[in-house]
């Protein structure tokens, strides 16, 4: 609605190098698309979590998880297909920059999913991945980028940084700059429960896939964000596992096949 502040150049900030067509066609595809791209997700976020959050913007047609080319496991991004353009717009407007599974996710229009795009494009087969680090205790949100640089992702990274800036800088109002995401205190009861959610119980679950190298940055960020930093020293340094993540079982190959077959 507020055309006064809309940046008309925003749509075309990056261009997917797999798109076959002109820049205009690419922009047109973005303008009509009912698909959104979601980035900076946790590797353990499930489709059902995505469904719960994104269905609040409208009826979802499909979810396509981005998968690591080699391990065929989620690698931090996905596509959500809506039935209506309006709902896709609302997802971009209202969900981008908010938290899912403890991570600020980014939501953008996508020109539409085609087969093959679910595979990560990082050098190691994983997503060219971005690791964000929220350090609450210093009152400053720092961004640590830790990515495998590859091809078209250079611009993507830049966009990511811009998005992040937008997240932090709210400062035009009379009430000064925004502090970073921090636990709110709910009157007398708030604040005291700082251990609200940074370490997890029930980490007894299976650890089949070893992806420590991909994840150490994120792990340490989670630790730092804990109020009780002593926890950082005694915590299990191996990756935590979202127990809701349903392990691929013996029919794994077939399931991957399913994904490939989807129209």
């Amino acid at each position: 609605m507020a055309s006064l502040f809309k940046d008309p150049a925003k749509l075309s900030a990056y261009r997917d190098r797999r798109f076959n067509g002109t820049q205009e066609e690419f922009e047109q595809a973005l303008l009509n698309s009912t698909t959104v791209y979601i980035g900076n997700m946790s590797f353990y976020t499930t489709e059902e979590q995505v469904y719960e959050l994104f269905s609040r913007a409208g009826e979802i047609k499909k979810i396509i998880m981005g998968l690591d080319k080699n391990s065929k496991t989620p690698c931090g991004f996905c596509f959500v297909l809506y039935y209506s353009r309006e709902d896709a717009e609302d997802a971009v407007k209202y969900i981008s920059g908010t938290i899912l599974d403890d991570r600020p996710i980014r939501v953008d229009f996508d020109w539409g999913f085609v087969e093959g795009r679910q595979w990560g494009r990082g050098r190691s087969g994983g997503q060219a991945c971005l690791l964000w680090n929220c350090d609450i205790s210093t009152g400053m949100e720092r961004v640590l980028l830790n990515y495998y640089f590859s091809g078209g992702y250079g611009k993507l990274v830049q966009r990511e940084l811009e998005a992040q800036r937008q997240l932090v800088d709210y400062g035009a109002g009379s009430l000064g700059a925004f502090p970073p995401v921090m636990p709110p205190h709910y009157g007398k009861h708030g604040g005291g429960h700082g251990h609200g959610g940074s370490y997890r119980h029930g980490r007894d679950s299976h650890r089949k896939r070893d992806r420590d190298d991909d994840r150490h940055g994120r792990e340490s960020s989670k630790r730092n964000s804990d109020h009780e930093s002593r926890r950082a020293s005694d915590h299990d340094s191996r990756p935590e596992k979202n127990p809701r993540f349903r392990e691929s079982g013996d029919s794994d190959d077939e399931e991957e096949d399913d994904r490939k077959r989807r129209p």
């Binding site: 507020a2 469904y51 719960e52 209202y94 035009a172 109002g173 809701r244």
Partner: protein
């Protein structure tokens, strides 16, 4: 952006454009200086931008108005154009019923009057035109009182101008403005009081004699106080006063008369239904902008003058309206309003009133979720505590809160907490465990936890309630599937069934086609084992194969949906199919809902089958305990509605296509005819018709265009037929829904003759429970700091929330959902009301059900 643009945009803000000065007079002088320089060569750019700014930043209108007043001294023609432009947009907005534009332009005109750009008398003419249209509308003989919503809107617009220019009007045209106010008073005496019973947030005190003031009555009272205070308003800046000496020198421009649209025609037959339909239509077009929530103690919000509250609400609502989608600007304008007092509580209450607004908020609830999050980050010291206060206040009154609002509150709260590490002082609410299972507060906590788990995962949420570990009891089950043939525990299933399931599973793994599996079932399973076993084995096994994720589910339904479709060919079997889904996912409400929803998407089950399943005995038992059956029902009705909406959209775009195809065809035909009738020379001889090659080409173009037109017509007809069928199906759906509601409520409600009301249902107490409650609340009064908790301080509330007996709570919840469904789909239900009245809401339907439906539809209460 050129500097005059950013100066215009940022005027009034503390920003670098104005060297962080916050003096409005400086701002206006600086901006005026810049504009004056540009006026000569950029006036055609300045004009639309200035108008756009005043429309989209209405809280800055006084600044823009003064600026225009100063420009008027420089360039009368420029300002004349502004006035003319405004007049055109205003007339256009009146004709097309654009409420926000009407309202904002009237404020703009008022401010122009303050800056001497237009005469006070012309503004009074505008007021009188609107007022007289309003008065005719509510006149029973000359007008059409069912359109009171529009009349009220006009009068609200007049009153809304007065904080911006009441003082000037009273000073310059005292008699005229007095006449307007007397006219409004007269209008108020003829119009009907708007009963809010269908749209109010809380269902309480309806039997009480004290009728709450409606929005217009309330505003009228605030304006009267304002008038008695000599029109002093703290919340409206009056920058024109600093420039008064200059402004008086300006030439006032003509603001010509405006006209209100014709009075809407009366229905051909006068009946309560026809009246109700028109009223519904009018209220859709002229909706009430806000409804006050009043959740905070008066001390938090009422230290302001009554009018300031109204003005600040206007500011906030306008920012929410125009800055939807611009997070940064939205948050910074929300916190930086030009008022000399704090307003966090008012801001929270306004946002919550929008989030919960009935029947629909202007935007999706998730927008307000985002705004609240951003404000918590913008004002970390103040706003989170206010939000928490709102949550506590709503939680205290949850038993009276409308069902739809409860659902929205649950979705908002879980989402909000998920963005703030799930931190909440749950120990404050641990006492809900002492309440019966059906106590609304307990159900609320349970549903919030359910949604939190969906957004996160079980262990994480378990850990987030560490400060009240007992609440683990209210967490949903850990969510895995409940596969009958998992082989872990026998579950009383025969080995034979187990083997069948394994065989089917192998066939799927072996990539047998749906066709092959259907043949296998029809030849060797169904005839031997019968329907029940076959259905159970097939459905459970396929669901299990598709259980890993949403995508797996979709894939299995795409590939083997036909197998289920073949097996469940009629509604009875579809109900069995859904029941099987319910049993497989009994520990996971989300997967139950998603699976049923997907099955409806691929037309494996009909909405009617879903309704029947929702009203099956095991679900009926859950009506007051869990959102699960309601979620499934909501999905089914909303999917039906979405399909209809899509068809309507397609039809409207096809209609446009048909028109342009018709035009193209007739143009092609005309071209061809013109060419045919033209004489041309072929081999020296004059021949009728242009050269053959061109003619041939034109002919084929004309034929193609004709074909195109016909095919457009055909697809339009096809879609219209589809829509007609969908509407019929919709009627059947609502008939079935209401019949089911009717039946179950009849079984549970006390005898209709005993004159029951919702209030009396609530006051049927279980004595033992009242005692329990008292104990639990005394226990809760002291927390570890020994400070009595706010939520308990008004103990009366807590006690009336949970000593309702189970059966009564069941009735209250179910009636609440009846009202919520009726209200949400009112526009779809009204066209079928005659049929519903004839077949469902007959004489012997329970009065409480009828009341719930009609108040949801906003049928006038006195017609009941």
């Amino acid at each position: 952006m050129s500097s005059w643009k950013s100066l215009l945009l940022r005027i009034g803000d503390k920003s670098s454009e104005y060297n962080s000065s916050s003096d409005f007079k400086d701002h206006i002088e600086t901006c005026f200086g810049a504009l004056r320089r540009e006026l000569l060569h950029s006036s055609s750019e300045i004009l639309p931008f200035l108008l756009q700014c005043s429309e989209q930043l209405p809280h800055k209108i006084p600044l823009y108005g003064t600026l225009i007043g100063l420009l008027n001294l420089e360039d009368e023609d420029f300002v004349k154009k502004i006035v003319e432009n405004t007049q055109d947009s205003f007339q256009d907005a009146l004709d097309s019923g654009k409420c926000d534009i009407i309202r904002i332009l009237m404020r703009f005109l008022t401010v122009l009057m303050c800056s001497k750009v237009i005469q006070p008398a012309s503004l009074v003419v505008v007021f009188e035109t609107l007022l007289s249209s309003a008065a005719i509308t509510v006149d029973e003989e000359k007008g059409n009182p069912s359109w009171q919503a529009r009349a009220d809107f006009y009068v609200i617009c007049i009153l809304s101008c007065l904080p911006w220019g009441g003082a000037e009007l009273a000073e310059q045209v005292p008699e005229e403005i007095e006449r307007v106010l007397v006219g409004i008073q007269a209008y108020l005496s003829i119009r009907r009081h708007t009963s809010n019973s269908g749209l109010s947030f809380f269902e309480d005190g309806e039997s009480g004699g004290d009728i709450e003031k409606d929005f217009l009555e309330d505003l009228w009272e605030r304006i009267q106080v304002l008038s008695n205070n000599g029109w002093k308003v703290e919340s409206v800046p009056r920058p024109h006063l600093s420039f008064e000496a200059q402004l008086v020198g300006g030439k006032s421009h003509e603001f010509g008369p405006i006209s209100c649209p014709e009075q809407p025609e009366l229905p051909s037959t006068i009946s309560a239904v026809a009246y109700g339909k028109q009223k519904h239509e009018a209220e859709l077009k002229y909706p009430q902008r806000t409804r006050r929530l009043n959740i905070f103690p008066a001390s938090k919000t009422e230290d302001l003058q009554p009018i300031d509250r109204f003005v600040v609400e206007e500011y906030l609502l306008d920012v929410l309206l125009f800055f939807n989608g611009c997070r940064k600007e939205c948050a910074s304008f929300m916190v930086g309003l030009p008022v000399p007092f704090r307003y966090e509580y008012l801001m929270a209450e306004t946002i919550f009133s929008q989030l919960l607004l009935l029947p629909h908020p202007p935007f999706k609830p998730i927008y307000y979720t985002l705004v609240i999050m951003d404000l918590c980050k913008a004002l970390p010291g103040a706003f989170p505590a206010v939000v928490a206060g709102a949550v506590r206040a709503l939680f205290d009154k949850i038993a009276d809160l409308d069902m739809e609002c409860r659902t929205r509150l649950i979705l908002w709260f879980s989402h909000h907490l998920s963005n703030f590490q799930f931190i909440w002082p749950w120990d404050e609410w641990a006492y809900v465990l002492d309440l019966p299972r059906w106590a609304p507060q307990r159900v609320f906590v349970q549903e919030v936890l359910e949604r939190e788990v969906r957004l996160s995962y079980w262990d994480k949420i378990k850990q987030s309630i560490e400060n009240a570990p007992a609440l683990e009891e209210l967490l949903p089950p850990k969510g895995g599937p409940n596969f009958k043939y998992s082989g872990v525990d026998g579950q009383g299933k025969t080995e034979q069934e187990q083997a069948l399931s394994a065989e089917l599973s192998n066939k799927v793994k072996g990539r047998q086609s749906a066709r092959e599996i259907i043949v296998w079932i029809e030849e060797s399973i169904y005839p031997i084992h019968g329907l029940e076993v076959t259905l159970s084995v097939v459905v459970q096994t396929l669901l299990d194969i598709g259980s890993k994720s949403f995508t797996h589910l979709i894939t299995i339904l795409e590939r083997y949906g036909q197998v289920m479709a073949k097996l469940c060919s009629d509604q009875d079997k579809q109900v069995m199919l859904i029941a099987e889904v319910g049993s497989y996912w009994k520990n996971n409400a989300q997967m139950t809902a998603i699976t049923i929803d997907r099955m409806m998407s691929c037309r494996l089950v009909s909405n009617l089958a879903i309704v029947r399943w929702v009203f099956s005995p095991e679900n009926i038992e859950q009506f007051h305990l869990s959102d699960c059956p309601w979620e499934v029902l909501r999905n089914a009705v909303s999917k039906t509605y979405n399909r209809i909406t899509d068809l309507r959209k397609e039809i409207s775009s096809l209609k446009k296509g048909v028109i342009s195809a018709e035009e193209a065809a007739s143009k092609a035909k005309a071209d061809l005819e013109a060419a045919e009738s033209k004489l041309s020379l072929v081999e020296g001889e004059p021949v009728l018709g242009e050269n053959p090659a061109k003619l041939k080409h034109l002919k084929s173009v004309a034929e193609k265009a004709k074909e195109e037109e016909e095919s457009m017509h055909d697809s339009l007809e096809a879609k219209e037929a589809l829509l007609a069928r969908a509407l019929d199906e919709n009627e059947v759906l609502f008939l079935s829904l209401y019949k089911n509601f009717c039946t179950v409520l009849m079984e549970h409600l006390p005898d209709a003759s005993s004159d029951v009301t919702l209030q009396s249902l609530k006051s049927i107490h279980g004595d033992s429970m009242a005692v329990d409650l008292e104990e639990s609340s005394t226990m809760e009064v002291d927390d570890e700091n020994g400070i009595p908790k706010k939520s308990q301080s008004n103990g009366g509330k807590a006690s009336n929330t949970c000593n309702v007996k189970e059966k009564e709570q069941w009735c209250l919840s179910t009636l609440g959902y009846v009202k919520a469904f009726s209200r949400q789909y009112a526009s779809e239900i009204w066209p079928h009301i005659e049929k519903l009245d004839a077949e469902v809401f007959t004489e012997d339907v329970h009065p409480l059900l009828r009341k719930a439906v009609y108040s949801g539809l906003r049928q006038m209460s006195n017609e009941l």
